[in-house]
C-alpha cells in the first residue's frame, strides 16, 4: 500500500473522554433515581416511626379513625383500596383486552373496507385511506382517555354516573338486598361509581399495552392456526392471546398500580366513610383518598399516623408489583408460541 489511508481509526482522546463522561452521566442518573426512591421510602418510614411504635400492627386491623380519642386504624381503607382496585381491574381488563383485540385484528378497518368494496371505491385515492385512518383515530381516542385529568373524571362521576346508576342500584337493593353485594342502598358516592370511573381511567393503559403486544405476535402463528382449521375465535383465544399474554399481564399490572394510587377521582366518588362493607353500593374509603383529605389540616401527631398509612400504601403497591412480576414469569413461561 502506497498511501496509508484507513477509514477506521482509533477514537481520539476527546471522543474517549466524552464517551466516558456520557457513560458516567447515565450511571449517575440511573443510580440517582434509585437513590431517590430509597430516600422517599426512608423519609416516610422515619416520620412514620412514632406511629409504628405506638400503634404497631393493630393499625392494620382496627377500623376506627378518631383524632379526638387518638385511635387510628386503616383496615377499612386497606380493604377499600384493594376492593375498588380489584373490581376496577376486573372490568377494565375485560373491556381493555377486548378493545385491544378489536383493534389489532383490524375489525373496524375490515368493516369500512367492506362498505367501500360495496361501492367499488376500496382502492380510490381518497376513500381507500379511510380504513387505516379510522383505525388510527380509534387508537388515539382510547389513548386520549388517559389524558383526561383525574378531577374531570371525578366530576363526571359525580354528576353523570351516580344519577345514572342510582335507580338501577336501588332497585337491585330493594329486590335482592339479601345478596351481600347489594346489601345497602346507594345514596350517592359509593364503591360502584368509584369502580366504574376507575375502570375507565385504567382502560387506556391496558388497551395500549395489550394492543402493542398483540401486534407483535408473528403472523406465521396465525396462518398456521388457520391452516390447521381453527376458526378466528379459536385462533384469537388459543394462539394469539396466550402468545401476547406477557405484554397483556404487564399492562394489567401497570393499570393495577395506577388504580391503587388514584386519588382525586376516588376521593370525590368513594364516599370517604370509614365503612367496612362488601356491598357495592356502600360508601368506602381508600388510603390515597384518606391521605389527600386529611393531610392539609393534620396535627403534628396525626402526620406520623398518616405517614404510616402512606407506608402501607407503598407496601401494597410494591407487593402488587412483585406478585405481578412473579405471576408473569410463571404463567407466560409455557404460553408463548414458537418464535
Amino acid at each position: 500500500m502506497a498511501e496509508d489511508i484507513t477509514i477506521s481509526q482509533p477514537p481520539s482522546r476527546w471522543q474517549g473522554a466524552t464517551d466516558k463522561f456520557f457513560r458516567g452521566l447515565c450511571y449517575t442518573f440511573a443510580w440517582l433515581s434509585i437513590f431517590l426512591v430509597v430516600l422517599i421510602v426512608f423519609r416516610i418510614a422515619m416520620q412514620a416511626g412514632p406511629a409504628v411504635r405506638q400503634y404497631g400492627l393493630g393499625f392494620l386491623t382496627t377500623k376506627t379513625w378518631d383524632p379526638n380519642q387518638e385511635q387510628f386504624g386503616v383496615l377499612p381503607e386497606i380493604w377499600g383500596t384493594v376492593y375498588t382496585s380489584l373490581l376496577a381491574l376486573l372490568i377494565g381488563s375485560a373491556f381493555g383486552v377486548a378493545a385491544a383485540v378489536f383493534m389489532s385484528e383490524g375489525y373496524l378497518g375490515g368493516f369500512i373496507f367492506g362498505i367501500l368494496k360495496f361501492f367499488h371505491v376500496q382502492f380510490h385515492p381518497f376513500w381507500g385511506k379511510l380504513p387505516n385512518q379510522a383505525e388510527y383515530t380509534l387508537k388515539n381516542l382510547i389513548e386520549l382517555l388517559a389524558a383526561i385529568p383525574s378531577v374531570v373524571y371525578g366530576l363526571w362521576g359525580l354528576f353523570v354516573v351516580i344519577p345514572l346508576i342510582r335507580p338501577a342500584c336501588n332497585w337491585l337493593h330493594a329486590k335482592m338486598g339479601w345478596f351481600a353485594l347489594f346489601s345497602t342502598d346507594l345514596s350517592g358516592p359509593g364503591v360502584l361509581p368509584a369502580v366504574v370511573v376507575l375502570s375507565i381511567m385504567i382502560l387506556p393503559t391496558i388497551t395500549a399495552i395489550s394492543r402493542h403486544s398483540l401486534s407483535t405476535v408473528p403472523p406465521k402463528l396465525r396462518m398456521a392456526a388457520y391452516g390447521l382449521g381453527a376458526t378466528q375465535w379459536e385462533t384469537i383465544l388459543a394462539v394469539i392471546l396466550p402468545t401476547a399474554a406477557r405484554g397483556i399481564f404487564a399492562g394489567i399490572i401497570l393499570a393495577f398500580g395506577r388504580a391503587l394510587g388514584e386519588t382525586m377521582a376516588l376521593a370525590m366518588l368513594v364516599g370517604n366513610a370509614n365503612v367496612l362493607s362488601i356491598s357495592l353500593f356502600s360508601p368506602a374509603n381508600t388510603l390515597a383518598a384518606l391521605l389527600a383529605n386529611t393531610f392539609p389540616e393534620a396535627h403534628p401527631k396525626e402526620i406520623s399516623v398518616l405517614m404510616y398509612a402512606a407506608l402501607i400504601l407503598l407496601g401494597i403497591t410494591l407487593a402488587v408489583n412483585v406478585i405481578g412480576a412473579a405471576i408473569l414469569e410463571r404463567t407466560s413461561a409455557g404460553l408463548e408460541g414458537g418464535k
Binding site: T64, W65, D66, P67, N68, Q69, L155, L158, F159, I162, P163, D185, S187, G188, P189, G190, A267, M268, G271, N272, A273, N274, P283, A289, A292, N293, T294, P296, E297, A298, H299, P300
Partner: protein, 347 residues
C-alpha cells in the same frame, strides 16, 4: 445533541439560581406573606389586593392552605402572619417564641343545606339536627322533624348525611356547636376538624359537599353561609337556645356574635348563643400575628393593613357572604393592635 445538552444545563443553572434571586423584599417595597384558613380566603384576597393596589410597593401574598397548616406555618415562622378558623390552642401559642396576637377580622355562619323536592324553609329543632348528625334520626318523616314542619311534604326516604372529608375549620366550628347542644355528640365524636362521624358520606371542601347534596335526593349537609348564598341553596331554619327558630342572615349572625362577650385574648366562641334573634351557628375567624416584628417595613405595612381591614374593609364583607364585625368588637380589636410591636433591635 450539543444544543440540547446546553439547553439542559441552562435550565439546571436557572433552577439552581432561582432560590438565590427570590428574597423577602421586592425592589424598594415590602412583601408580606400569610397562610391559613380557606374559609375567609376570598375576603382576605380582596382586602389584600385592594390594599396593595392603593399602596404602591406593597405586596401581600395569602395562601389558603387550611387552618391547621396556617398554625403550623406560624409556629415554623415561615410566614409573616397566619389565619385560622379554630383560633389557636394555648399549647400552640406557647410554642411561638415572643408570642402571638390573635385578631378576629371577620365572622361567618354555617348553614344546613338540603335536597328535598318541594320542601321550602325546612325547620329543624335542636334535637332533630343533632340527631341527624349522630345517625339517630334516619328518615325524613321522623316525628322530630314532622312536628315542627306542619304542612311540609316530608318523604318517607332515608336522610343522606354529607359531611366534610377534609379536616376543616368549618367542621370544627360545627362540631363544637353540636357538642354544646348535645351531650351525646360531645362524648362521641366530639369537636374536631375531622371527627369520627358516625354517619354519612364525606366530600372534600364546600364545593364537594354542595355537589354531593345537589346530586343526592334526600341529602343534608353543612356548608358556609357565603357559599350557600352565592349558590342560591336552600338553608334550614334552626332552633336556637331560647327555642326560637331563626333563619341564617347577616343580622341574625351578628346577633349571635353580640351575645358572646369578647375576652382580652379576643378568642370567643359563639358555640350556642343565648339570644332570641341569634342564629345558633356563628363564628369569628382569626388572623394570627406575631407580637414582635423585626422588620420595620413589614411592621408598618401590617399595622396599616389591619387598620384598613377593620375600618373600610368591613364594608366588603357582607357582599361576599361574611358577617361584618359588630362595632364594639372592631373597636376592641383595633385597640389590640397596640400589642403588636416593633422589636427594639429592628432594622
Amino acid at each position: 445533541m450539543r444544543p440540547l445538552l446546553r439547553g439542559v444545563f441552562i435550565i439546571l443553572l436557572a433552577a439552581l439560581s432561582y432560590p438565590a434571586c427570590s428574597s423577602n423584599k421586592t425592589a424598594g417595597g415590602v412583601k408580606l406573606s400569610g397562610a391559613g384558613a380557606s374559609f375567609p380566603a376570598p375576603l382576605y384576597q380582596k382586602w389584600f389586593k385592594a390594599y396593595s393596589s392603593s399602596h404602591p410597593g406593597v405586596e401581600i401574598d395569602y395562601q389558603s392552605v387550611g387552618s391547621g397548616s396556617g398554625i403550623k406555618s406560624v409556629i415554623d415562622k415561615t410566614v409573616d402572619f397566619g389565619a385560622s378558623d379554630a383560633a389557636m390552642s394555648p399549647e400552640d401559642q406557647a410554642r411561638v417564641e415572643g408570642g402571638v396576637q390573635l385578631l378576629p377580622l371577620t365572622a361567618g355562619c354555617i348553614v344546613l343545606t338540603y335536597n328535598l323536592e318541594g320542601v321550602k324553609d325546612l325547620k329543624l329543632s335542636r334535637a332533630a339536627y343533632a340527631g341527624i348528625f349522630l345517625g339517630k334520626v334516619k328518615m325524613w318523616n321522623d316525628p322530630l322533624i314532622a312536628k315542627v314542619n306542619p304542612g311540609a311534604k316530608l318523604p318517607d326516604k332515608p336522610i343522606n348525611v354529607v359531611v366534610r372529608a377534609d379536616g376543616s375549620g368549618t367542621t370544627f366550628v360545627f362540631t363544637k356547636h353540636l357538642s354544646a347542644i348535645s351531650p351525646e355528640f360531645a362524648k362521641n365524636p366530639g369537636a374536631n376538624a375531622l371527627p369520627n362521624w358516625p354517619v354519612g358520606t364525606r366530600s372534600k371542601g364546600n364545593e364537594g359537599v354542595t355537589a354531593s347534596i345537589m346530586t343526592t335526593p334526600g341529602a343534608i349537609g353543612y356548608i358556609e353561609y357565603g357559599y350557600a348564598t352565592s349558590q342560591n341553596l336552600p338553608m334550614a331554619i334552626l332552633e336556637n337556645k331560647t327555642g326560637a327558630y331563626v333563619a341564617p342572615s347577616t343580622a341574625s349572625a351578628q346577633a349571635a356574635l353580640a351575645a358572646v362577650p369578647l375576652p382580652d385574648d379576643l378568642i370567643a366562641w359563639a358555640s350556642d348563643p343565648d339570644a332570641k334573634d341569634a342564629y345558633p351557628i356563628a363564628t369569628y375567624t382569626w388572623l394570627i400575628c406575631y407580637k414582635q416584628y423585626h422588620d420595620k417595613g413589614k411592621f408598618e405595612t401590617l399595622q396599616g393593613l389591619l387598620n384598613y381591614c377593620l375600618t373600610d374593609g368591613q364594608k366588603d364583607s357582607e357582599v361576599l357572604g361574611y358577617i361584618p364585625l359588630p362595632s364594639a368588637v372592631s373597636d376592641k380589636v383595633k385597640a389590640a393592635l397596640q400589642n403588636i410591636t416593633l422589636a427594639p433591635n429592628a432594622s
